[in-house]
């Protein structure tokens, strides 16, 4: 933790952090979507696929280039202002000081779907995407990128920090055994966000979201992409080994919920504004969205609930797309963020779950330091952050989470879609 950040702590954080929701307001907006479709058609014409069998040793041999192009989600990296008032990324500046490599960081990913739509044509045509690092959540787009070998397999001998400090759940996840292609950036939990002032009694489990007496009519939000797996977990089904029969069981619960009249909207994103605005009493929610509003933005009527039946764990992963100009430099950047000191700077700012061990202790240390310097409010927020059981989930919580069903091929995907999409699209 560099000292220049403590000079202007709390206040600066508040100003810089104009967060709405991690997943942006509305994916792509109209124009982006329209623009993309032509590219998709063109892409559909080409049938070239990816890198073939690449030997990581070849890709990652030689010296790192001068610059790394890094595409990430909004508000997902620590920021600060220099003396002239220009915003910069402290952890990347330190990286440059240490290695001489400049990282061109752009918060350009609004959603997995939209970003995949943008890069897919280039990847399918065998062209470079222009990016050296991209960040994609485990899920359909991730699987397609790795299956088609549109991302480089990493040189696993060149990530010492990762080997030493990666948290257990981020090591060799089911969707990427041996971290062959990916390293976690940040992660989070899909649970329930509750507006405690608007619900009757306590919301503790999934079934409460289908109970109009508790949550009211037309006032529950559901997350379209996450809900199939989330419902399975809460019905006691292990998504990993589930098949069409189990999927139909989950769909039946969702239909029952829809018929109960509690659902207000099936969201891709944007639910958090409806929660803070009082339109939703309770909603499926991503931990970081609720925690930020509760801990740092003053919404003390919000609460994040880990449902009795379990929750989903998701990881946003750093990947190196095929055609990247500087894979060596990219891998250095990726490993840089597995230095606990650097990871702490990120966590204190982004408030999602860090895949790096030791971050919790370092935040407490920073809190002590802030306390000693007299920044009491800032110190308290850091303490609350460090002691939050969802930002640093215990083993007991983690044991009750699932990464969800990883769809492997087109047949599975179309079966899945045919079962679940009629619910949100009816």
């Amino acid at each position: 933790m560099s000292d220049d950040r403590l000079i202007a702590p709390g206040a600066m954080q508040e100003i810089l952090r104009k967060r709405l929701t991690r997943r942006g307001l509305l994916k792509g907006a109209g124009a982006g979507v329209a623009g993309f479709s032509l590219a998709a058609f063109l892409a559909a014409c080409g049938s070239d696929s990816g890198g073939g069998n690449v030997n990581p040793k070849d890709v990652f041999s030689g010296e790192a280039g001068d610059t790394v192009q890094f595409a990430n989600w909004p508000l997902y990296l620590d920021q600060a202002k220099d003396k002239d008032g220009n915003v910069y990324y402290p952890s990347l500046k330190q990286f440059k000081d240490a290695t001489g490599i400049t990282v061109n960081y752009e918060a350009t990913i609004q959603s997995n779907e939209e970003f995949y739509g943008k890069i897919q044509p280039q990847l399918a045509a065998g062209d470079s995407t222009g990016w050296d690092i991209i960040v994609i959540t485990n899920g359909r787009q991730f699987t397609i990128l790795t299956q088609n070998q549109w991302v480089y397999p990493l040189d696993t001998s060149k990530r010492p920090n990762f080997d030493a400090n990666a948290a257990d759940y981020a090591v060799s996840p089911a969707y990427d055994p041996g971290n062959k292609y990916s390293m976690a950036w940040q992660s989070g939990i899909t649970g329930i966000g509750v507006n405690t002032k608007l619900v009757n009694g306590e919301v503790t489990k999934m079934d409460d979201l289908a109970n109009p007496d508790k949550v009211g009519k037309s006032s529950v939000g559901m997350l379209t992409g996450d809900m199939p797996d989330w419902v399975m977990v809460n019905l006691g089904i292990d998504p990993k080994t589930s098949g069409p029969d189990e999927w139909k069981e989950a769909a039946a619960w969702l239909m029952k919920q829809r018929d109960s009249g509690t659902v207000r909207q099936y969201y891709d994103q944007g639910y958090i504004n409806d929660l803070t605005g009082g339109n939703l009493t309770a909603t499926m929610a991503w931990s970081g969205d609720v925690l930020y509003n509760q801990l740092w933005a003053g919404y003390d009527n919000l609460e994040f609930v880990f449902p009795d039946g379990g929750a989903l764990l998701w990881i946003d992963n750093m990947l190196i797309p095929v055609g990247a100009k500087n894979p060596v430099g990219a891998l250095e950047v990726m490993d840089w963020y597995y230095d606990p000191k650097i990871a702490t700077e990120v966590t204190e700012w982004v408030l999602y779950n860090s895949p790096v061990k030791g971050v919790q202790d370092l935040i407490i240390k920073d809190a002590d330091k802030a306390q000693a310097q007299g920044y009491k409010g800032y110190a308290n927020k850091l303490y609350e952050t460090a002691h939050n059981e969802f930002l640093f989930p215990t083993q007991a919580y983690l044991a009750r989470t699932s990464f969800g069903r990883q769809l492997e091929n087109d047949d599975e995907a179309s079966q899945w879609d045919n079962i679940f999409l009629p619910i949100s699209q009816g």
């Binding site: 739509g117 992409g225 009082g278 087109d410």
Partner: protein, 310 residues
Amino acid sequence: MATEGTDTGTTPAVPPKRGRSYGDRKRVVPYWLMLPGGGYLLVFLILPLTLLTFTSLESGGAFSGNFRFTWEFANYTQQIVQYQTQFVRSVEYSIIVTIAALLLAYPMTYWIAFYGGRWKSSILLLILVPFFVSFVLRTIQWKFLLGDNGLIFSPLKSIGLLPDHFRVLATPFAVVAGMTYSYLPFTALPLYVALERIDKRLVEAAKDLYSSRWEAFRHVVLPLSLPGVFAAFLLTFVPATGDYVNASVLGGPGTTMIGNIIQEKFLSELNYPEAAALSVILMIAMLILASIYARILGTEDSALSAGVAG
């Protein structure tokens, strides 16, 4: 030209050649003038539409990494069966939207055209001002305004004028109202063009012939403005049917429109052939509806005015 003319008599062999090339050029010039526009349409309309049609007949999936052209007509039959509810809903919504927009826009543009005086253009500009802000952002602002405990309803609820559970958002009404607002300028502009063109002396003449104000409107202004109404209907109805922003921001369960399905297929399912098939179906349906409409109600004049406004 003049010198050429005098030459013609003495040396007949040369001028006809020159003359022909001049005539050729004259005939070719309009085509040259069309080239930029035509080329633009070819590259950005015809070509994508062709590709779209090809894509719609492909099979395969995102996981296998490629789609193959296999004359997959099943894409069409399946989509029509599976999504007829959303197709019908989209057409219903946009008919309501178009009629509502016409009812709102007609008196407004009538007033501007007949009583706007020297402020005409300024007032017309006001109609265009909302266009300066992104359509998506404006729709999201609606959400803040109309929130269950938002700016408008919160005070009304606290003084007991509205029941506590009253809401507008996440209902079909919100979607239709949002779309009406979004597409109002598309309705207003062609209407204004038609109304503004009307010779005001005709109304005076009607009055001289002892018609009441209402009769003058019914027998003179309204018929003369019909081309504008025709154009306004098309310009509103067609894009409104394909809209997906309003339904996804302001709607709830059971308000999904066909545009949302296409978006979902493209972005989430990554099923490009089915998404393309749906788009082609929507496009053909719109073409058929629009040409039936034009057959029944259209005139040469109205087609012209649609062209002018569009």
